[in-house]
Amino acid sequence: MSEVIKIKKGVDIKLQGEAEKIFATADTPSTYALKPSDFPGIRMKLKVKEGDEVLAGDPIFFDKGRPAITFGSPVSGEIAEVVRGEKRRILEVRVLADKEIRYRDFGSADPASLKRDEVKGKIVEAGMWPLVKQRPYNIVANPDRVPRDIWVSCFDSAPLAPDADFVVHGQEAEFKTGIKALMQLTDGKVHLGLDGRTNPSEAFKVEGAVMHRFTGPHPAGNPGVQMHAVAPINKGETVWTVGLQDVIMIGRLFMSGQFQAQRSVALAGAQVSKPRYYKALIGANVKSILEGNVAAGNNRYISGNILTGNQIPSEGYLSFYDNQITVMPEGGEDQFFGWMAPNFNKFSISRALFNWMMPNKRLNLDANLNGEERAFVVTGEYEKVFPFDIYPVQLLKSIMVKDIEAMENLGIYEVAEEDMALCEVVCTSKIPVQETLREGLDLMLDELGD
C-alpha cells in the first residue's frame, strides 16, 4: 500500500444532518431533466423536440463545438418540455419517464479486450461521455485527446458528502470494470485517490491502477488536490477525472450494455428530518425524495454539497454530476449588530467570534453572506484552506484583469471551482471566488481552445 499523503491545508465544516447509512425508498419520480448549465464550456444543440420518444441512452442534446459529445437520456419516455430562459437559452429538457425503463442496447463487452477507440466509442455512443471531465478547465473531456493520466477520487471530503465505502458496496464488479475501461483510454496511469483515514475497501484494489492514500481536511477528497500532490498538470497536458459513481456507471455500461444512470444519493442537511441514502437516477425530480422529510420554514434546496452545489427548487431536478441533496435554512434576516455580537452558532476559521470554544459542534448554518462584498483586504486567509502551491488571490486578480498569461503562469490549469470553494467560504471580503474562476477558465477556453 502506498504511503499516506497528508493534505495540511483546508477545513472541515461540521454540519448537522449527516445521512445515516441506510437506503430509504421513495416514490419513483415521473419526470427527469438534463440541465445544460451542468456543463460549462459546452454549446448545446437539441437532438430532440417536445413529444419525441426516447430510450435510456438516446441522445437528448449534443455539443455544437464537438458534435461527437452527446448527452444521453437517463430514462426512457417522452420529451415533455424544453424549458428556456432569456435569449431562448435552454434551461432544462424534461423527460416524462415510462413506468418501466426501456434501455437502448449498446452491447456488453469486456473493456480489457477492446481497443481504445472501441471503449471510447461505446461510452460516447451511450451518451455517457460527459461523465468524463478534463483538467484544465474542468469541462467535459475532449474525446479526441489522449490524457496524460486519469484520476478517480474514491472519497468525497465535502460537508455531508456520501460515504464512498457505503456507496460502492455491492457494486465492486461494476467499479472494477469501469476502471478497466478507463485504463484503455490513457497511455499513462489510472490513479485512485483513497481515504487514508480508513482501510480502503477491497473494491478499490484494481490491478493496474495506482492507489494513493490521502488524509487531511476538505478539500483532500478533490481530485485536483490529489493530482497536485502527486503529479501536477503542466501547460499543454490534459488529465481526465471521473467521479466514483460515474466509474460504476461506465462499468455497468460494459457489463449490461445499457446506460443505467443510477446513483446512490445522500439526502442530508439540518433541515432534513431523516437524512438517509436513496437510489436515484441522474436528473431525477427530487420532490418524491424530499416529500414529508423536510422541516417547515424557508429552506434552501441544493443539488450537491453546500460548497459547490446548485440551488434548486423543492421540486427541482438532481444535477448531472451530483450524488447529494442538501437542505439548509435560507436565512436572510438582518442581524442586529451582527458584525460585533458574539455568536456560537456560526462558522469561522478565525477566532474573532466565539465558535472556537466549541470546535466539534455540528452547526446548522444558513445561506447568509454575513457581510457585504468589499475589496481584497485581509490576506493569508485563502492560503489556510487552499492546499495548492498556487497564489490564489493573485490568480483571482489576474482573472479580474483578464491577463491570460498571468493566469497561465499562476496555475489556472490545475484548479477547478471546487478546489477554490473554501476560499470563497472564508473570504472576509465576500468575493465571488468560484464565479470569478469560472470566468477565467471560460476566457482561457475561448482564447486557447481545449
Binding site: P232, N234, G236, R300, L307, T308, G309, T326, M328, E330, G331, G332, E333, D334, Q335, F336, F337, G338, W339, M340, N343, F347, S348, I349, S350, R351, A352, N355, L365, D366, A367, N368, L369, N370, G371, E372, R374, A375, F376, V377, V378, T379, G380, D389, I390, Y391, V393, N409, L410, E417, A421, E424, V425, V426, T428, S429, K430, P432, Q434, E435
Partner: protein
C-alpha cells in the same frame, strides 16, 4: 432593536432613487449596515460563508488597541502630574481622567473628521462606506504626542484619508498605511509639535503649580540618541511608565493587543515574529560593532542590548498594529517573512544611525510599505519560475 429597524425602514425611501436625499444613500447605508448586518444570502458559489466580515475584522483590531489606549490615558496623566511634582498626591482616577480629557477629544476629532471625509468620498463615488477607517481612526491618536493641537490631528487625518487612501481607490487599494501617513504628515508639517523633548509630556501648570526643577521630558530614545542620561529602568520601559506617543509606551498593553490579534487570527504572526527577529538581528549586530562606533553617543546607543530595542519607543506598537496592516504589508506568506524582518531591521538601524530622528519604526514601515509589492512580485515570480521549470522537466522527459 425593533425600534431601530422601524426608524431605518421609515426613512429608507428618502434615501433611495427618487427620494429627497438620494445622494446621501451611502450615509444611510453606512448607518443601516452599522446597526444591522444585512441579511443578504449567497446567490452564486458556496452556500455558506464565514461569519467574519470586514467590520468584525476591524472592530477586533480596535478592541486589541483598547489596552494601549487606556494605559495611554493613565500614563499621560501620570507623566503630567509627575512633571508638576504632584504624582504622589493624585489618585489613579485623577490621572486617568486627566489623560482621558486630553485623549477623548483627539479620538472624537479623528473619527469625526476621518469618517466625514470618507462619507464625502462615498457620496461622490457612489459606493458604500468601507470599514478601514474604524482602525485608522483609533490608530492616529495613539501615535500622536499628547500635546498636539486638535486642529493638527484634523489636518493630518484629512491628508491621510485623501492622499493616503482615497486617491488610490479607498480601503484595500492604498499603498501606505493611512495612520502612518497621518503621522508622517504631522511630523514633517509640524516638526516642533512632533519631536524634541517638549511634546511628550504635558507640562502646562495651573496657577500655583510649576514644573519640578531639572525635569526632562526626553523620551528614552531621545536620551540614547543624544548620549544623555536615561532616567527610566527596563521595568519602566516594559510597563510603559515613560514618555512617548500616547499608545506606544506600554509593551505590556501592546502585548495584550498582540495576543488578541494573534489568537483571533486577524493579524499576521509571520510579520510580528519576523519583525522581532529583524530588530534583534540589527540590535545585536550593533552590539558587535559598538567598539568601532564613531562617537561616544553612538557607541552607547550601539551597546544597548539588542532585546531592549523591543521595549523602547514605538517599536512594539509599530510591529503589532502598523506593520501587520494587511493592505500595505506584503501579501504573500513568504513575502511577509521578508517584509517583517526588514521592518524590524531598518527600524533599529534608523534609530541608531539617525540622531535627529531616533524613532525609526515609522520610517521603516513606510519604506517597507513601498517595497512590499516588489517583495511580493519576486515571491510570486519564484512560484511562476518553479512551474516553468517543472514544465521544462516534463518536456525533457
Amino acid at each position: 432593536m425593533k425600534l431601530f429597524k422601524n426608524i431605518l425602514d421609515s426613512v429608507k425611501p428618502h434615501f433611495e432613487a427618487g427620494g429627497k436625499f438620494e445622494k446621501l444613500h451611502p450615509v444611510y447605508d453606512g448607518f443601516a449596515t452599522f446597526l444591522f448586518t444585512p441579511g443578504h444570502t449567497s446567490h452564486s458559489g458556496a452556500h455558506v460563508r464565514d461569519a467574519i466580515d470586514l467590520k468584525r475584522t476591524m472592530i477586533t483590531v480596535v478592541m486589541a488597541m483598547v489596552p494601549a489606549l487606556l494605559f495611554g490615558m493613565w500614563n499621560a496623566g501620570n507623566l503630567h502630574y509627575t512633571a508638576l511634582g504632584l504624582a504622589e498626591t493624585m489618585t489613579f482616577g485623577d490621572k486617568f481622567l486627566w489623560g482621558a480629557m486630553k485623549i477623548v477629544p483627539m479620538l472624537i476629532v479623528s473619527y469625526g473628521v476621518g469618517l466625514g471625509v470618507e462619507f464625502i468620498f462615498c457620496i461622490i463615488k457612489k459606493h458604500s462606506i468601507q470599514e478601514g477607517y474604524l482602525v485608522s481612526g483609533m490608530l492616529i491618536p495613539l501615535i500622536m504626542p499628547i500635546d498636539i493641537p486638535l486642529w493638527m490631528v484634523a489636518v493630518s487625518v484629512i491628508f491621510a484619508v485623501v492622499i493616503g487612501k482615497e486617491v488610490f481607490g479607498g480601503t484595500g487599494m492604498n499603498i501606505l498605511n493611512p495612520a502612518l501617513t497621518a503621522r508622517a504628515f504631522a511630523f514633517f508639517a509640524y516638526p516642533t509639535y512632533m519631536s524634541g523633548d517638549k511634546v511628550w509630556i504635558n507640562t502646562s501648570a495651573d496657577a500655583g503649580q510649576s514644573v519640578v526643577d531639572g525635569f526632562s521630558g526626553a523620551t528614552v530614545l531621545g536620551s540614547y540618541a543624544t548620549g544623555g542620561d536615561v532616567q527610566y529602568s527596563v521595568w519602566d520601559m516594559f510597563m510603559g511608565f515613560i514618555p512617548g506617543s500616547i499608545g506606544e509606551t506600554s509593551t505590556v498593553a501592546i502585548l495584550i493587543g498582540a495576543a488578541i490579534l494573534l489568537y483571533t487570527g486577524i493579524a499576521s504572526w509571520r510579520i510580528m515574529l519576523s519583525g522581532v527577529i529583524g530588530a534583534l538581528a540589527m540590535g545585536y549586530l550593533f552590539n558587535a560593532f559598538a567598539p568601532h562606533a564613531i562617537s561616544p553617543e553612538q557607541q552607547s546607543f550601539m551597546s544597548l542590548p539588542g532585546w531592549q530595542h523591543l521595549i523602547m519607543g514605538g517599536f512594539a506598537f509599530g510591529i503589532v498594529f502598523m506593520a501587520t496592516d494587511p493592505v500595505s504589508a506584503a501579501q504573500t506568506n513568504r513575502g511577509k517573512w521578508i517584509y517583517g524582518f526588514l521592518v524590524g531591521f531598518f527600524a533599529i538601524m534608523i534609530r541608531v544611525f539617525n540622531p535627529a530622528y531616533p524613532e525609526g519604526i515609522m520610517m521603516a514601515i513606510l519604506f517597507m510599505n513601498v517595497m512590499a509589492p516588489l517583495i511580493d512580485h519576486y515571491v510570486i515570480q519564484a512560484n511562476i519560475n518553479k512551474r516553468k521549470k517543472r514544465l521544462a522537466t516534463v518536456k525533457a522527459a
